[in-house]
């Protein structure tokens, strides 16, 4: 006799999805089984990790008085690189545009970033693949990246730069190199990189002519000698061992440290790398500041923090924890129009949806930003894009000033950890500020 599954008096349990084998996980297993290769994508870690959202400003009170919103000054300028460089960089706002390669981004997108940054009084940064004339021409302050691949590297561009950034690592992939897939290798990209068209280009994960901190010191000496000790030299590190990496970069002679946490975007990296290597930005910040303080170098060697910076609140919180400035990548692309719902029809055709599109390496970006296809690139007007980026940078700055004034600070750099509390124990432990409503900082005073 067949079993009766519908006995009316036995309650049915709803189908239960495994937490371990979730829909996402199973889909990825099927994808891997079908293709035999890991998933490559752009963007940063998508999982939720402790972040600046888990911190709050306390604001003023009887013992701390605030500054008047529209009347009393709250300065935002920052000088970067005065430790050794004859010509330090003067920024009007403590938000810079992070290094994003020409190749991963279109020429128009690079131009828009330069225009927006210049209008807002800040710097932009080249990326893997070298410096383009458009970018140099439209950027008042341009930081030139010195990467392991050395694609396009040359002393003329080095001399044209306003600062040099030695890239040791990136938050999305500390310990990883890069990959630009063949479909994005146009004639121009190929020529700049001295490689044939249409092949997958690997960017090395290690510098070809030095290893370790002692060599790095000599490399910095060489770069300074080539450029007459004029230009600030930054060292960019991924969020792996922020205390020691910061200390070693300072010892090697860096003028500034760029510290990129795991939420930091990338143009193309394995998903497994993005999601499983490196520490959250929030967890990286205090150890780096501690290293600078231990060496007596806090505010002498500037700390620029990136990885998931989106709002003026993020800026203010990063500065309160000891950063001198922040840097943005993904948010700048969104300001230009990346993942805009107005392209939803096209995102659907690519099997995704606005807000989730991350196949930046495939070069088919409907918004015309992460592409080398001329028809798509034409969708981004670099002048309009620059204006949008300027607006966004200004808005973030105003937001950060609003928060700083509420804490009674006449310069964003006067924000301090004492202005903050944490919403979660994790954030309290990482940021080393008390859990809201308590005086408890995990790990302090024996607890």
């Amino acid at each position: 006799m067949p079993m009766d599954h519908h006995k009316p008096n036995i309650p049915a349990t709803p189908p239960r999805q495994s937490w371990t084998f979730s829909q996402d996980v199973n889909a990825e297993i099927r994808r891997a089984a079908a293709t035999g290769i890991y998933d490559i994508r752009g963007g940063g870690a998508k999982r939720r990790v402790p972040h600046f959202d888990d911190l709050l400003f306390l604001g003023a009170s009887i013992s701390r008085y605030p500054l008047e919103g529209y009347r009393e000054r709250c300065d935002t300028n920052v000088t970067i690189g005065a430790r050794f460089a004859k010509k330090p960089i003067e920024l009007e706002i403590p938000i810079t545009i992070a290094g994003m390669s020409f190749g991963s981004l279109s020429g128009a997108a690079k131009e828009a970033l330069g225009r927006g940054a210049s209008l807002a009084g800040t710097s932009t940064t080249t990326g893997d693949g070298g410096m383009t004339p458009e970018e140099r021409g439209h950027s008042k302050l341009l930081v030139y990246q010195y990467l392991p691949s050395r694609y396009g590297m040359n002393p003329d561009d080095l001399r044209k730069a306003d600062a040099i950034e030695i890239v040791v690592g990136q938050g999305a992939k500390p310990g990883g190199g890069g990959m630009l897939l063949g479909q994005k290798i146009s004639d121009r990209v190929a020529e700049m990189r001295d490689l044939p068209m249409g092949i997958d280009q690997r960017s090395a994960c290690r510098h070809p002519d030095w290893t370790g901190p002692d060599d790095m010191e000599i490399k910095i000496l060489e770069l300074r000698e080539i450029t007459g000790w004029e230009k600030p030299i930054y060292v960019k590190i991924g969020g792996a061992r922020p205390y020691y990496d910061t200390a070693l970069a300072v010892k090697a002679g860096a003028d500034a440290i760029v510290l990129d946490g795991m939420q930091g975007g990338t143009a193309a990296t394995q998903d497994v790398f993005i999601e499983h290597v490196g520490m959250p930005t929030l967890a990286c910040l205090r150890p780096a500041v501690q290293a600078l303080q231990d060496l007596g170098m806090h505010r002498e060697v500037q700390l620029i923090v990136s990885g998931g910076i989106r709002t003026g609140a993020d800026v203010a919180k990063a500065l309160a924890l000891g950063a001198d400035a922040v840097s943005i990548g993904t948010a700048a692309l969104v300001a230009l129009g990346d993942n805009d719902p107005k392209w939803e029809d096209e995102y659907q055709k690519l099997g995704t949806t606005a807000g989730a599109y991350d196949d930046w390496h495939e070069g088919l970006d409907p918004a015309g930003i992460t592409t080398q296809v001329p028809e798509l690139e034409a969708r981004l007007d670099p002048i309009e894009g620059g204006r949008r980026l300027r607006n966004y940078l200004k808005t973030m700055t105003l937001e950060a000033q609003t928060l700083a004034r509420a804490c009674g600070k006449s310069h964003l750099h006067k924000l301090e950890p004492e202005d903050l509390c944490a919403l979660t124990m994790e954030a309290a432990a990482m940021a080393q500020v008390p859990l809201a409503g308590t005086e408890w900082i995990p790990g302090k005073n024996g607890f």
């Binding site: 293709t35 040359n154 092949i199 090395a204 070809p208 002519d209 007459g228 000790w229």
Partner: protein
């Protein structure tokens, strides 16, 4: 002939003087005395001058050179002529690791041996080594020529792109995607020129040519073990 003595002067002053030579000026020949293994000697030059470094150098001698001819009368430390753009660098002794790394043009001639990773990520430079080279030489070599008159160590030309490698002696092993290729007349002619400019008198016919099999140019899971 101008002389600069590093025993009494400073690296900064010396490099500044060499970098300041403008085209058409008379200060075209220099001798650097007592280099004593100092790093970053004669870097960032950009004029058709002749510099003779009278002894051994440390890291990155003549890094990013443009136009100048630099002759090192001794051994050279790591990264000699790294990212050279044009001009000529001659090492009369041996060279340490990463000689000519990422170089984009010009000629690096090493009379003695070169260590590991000679010509790593080279992007158009020509490198001629009178002696042998160490392991992983020409790793990820993109463009240009590496000529080795002696032997090559392990994993020669690993992950090679379009750079050409010529070796006269033995090759301990070839790296991933590097294969021996036919030596055609145009290669022999190019090799003859390279040897001549490097002041090395050897018969090009004794060399074998290696290059990329181009099997790893676009990712294929069946080759995953080779990457």
């Amino acid at each position: 002939m101008e002389r600069y003595d590093l025993a009494t002067g400073s690296l900064r002053e010396m490099n500044a003087q060499l970098q300041a030579v403008a085209p058409g000026e008379n200060l075209t020949a220099w001798e650097i005395l007592n280099p004593d293994g100092r790093h970053a000697i004669a870097v960032g030059l950009d004029a058709p001058i002749e510099v003779r470094v009278m002894g051994p150098t440390g890291y990155y001698c003549s890094g990013m050179n443009q136009q100048a001819t630099v002759r090192i009368r001794g051994n050279a430390g790591p990264g000699v002529a790294e990212n050279m753009m044009s001009g000529k660098v001659i090492v009369e002794g041996d060279a340490s690791q990463y000689a000519g790394a990422t170089g984009r043009g010009g000629l690096l001639a090493i009379k003695g041996n070169a260590s590991s990773r000679c010509g790593i990520s080279m992007k158009g430079i020509d490198i001629v080594v009178g002696g042998s080279v160490g392991h992983m030489s020409c790793f990820m070599g993109q463009k240009g020529n590496l000529v080795v008159c002696g032997d090559a160590g392990e994993a020669l030309g690993d992950s090679l792109y379009e750079a050409r490698v010529f070796v006269r002696g033995s090759v301990k092993s070839l790296g991933a995607d590097c294969v021996e290729k036919e030596m055609r007349p145009e290669h022999l002619a190019a090799l003859e020129n390279l040897l001549e400019s490097a002041e090395i008198d050897t018969d090009p016919a004794d060399f074998r040519r290696y290059g990329s099999a181009r099997r790893l140019y676009n990712f294929d899971i069946d080759n995953a073990g080779a990457y």
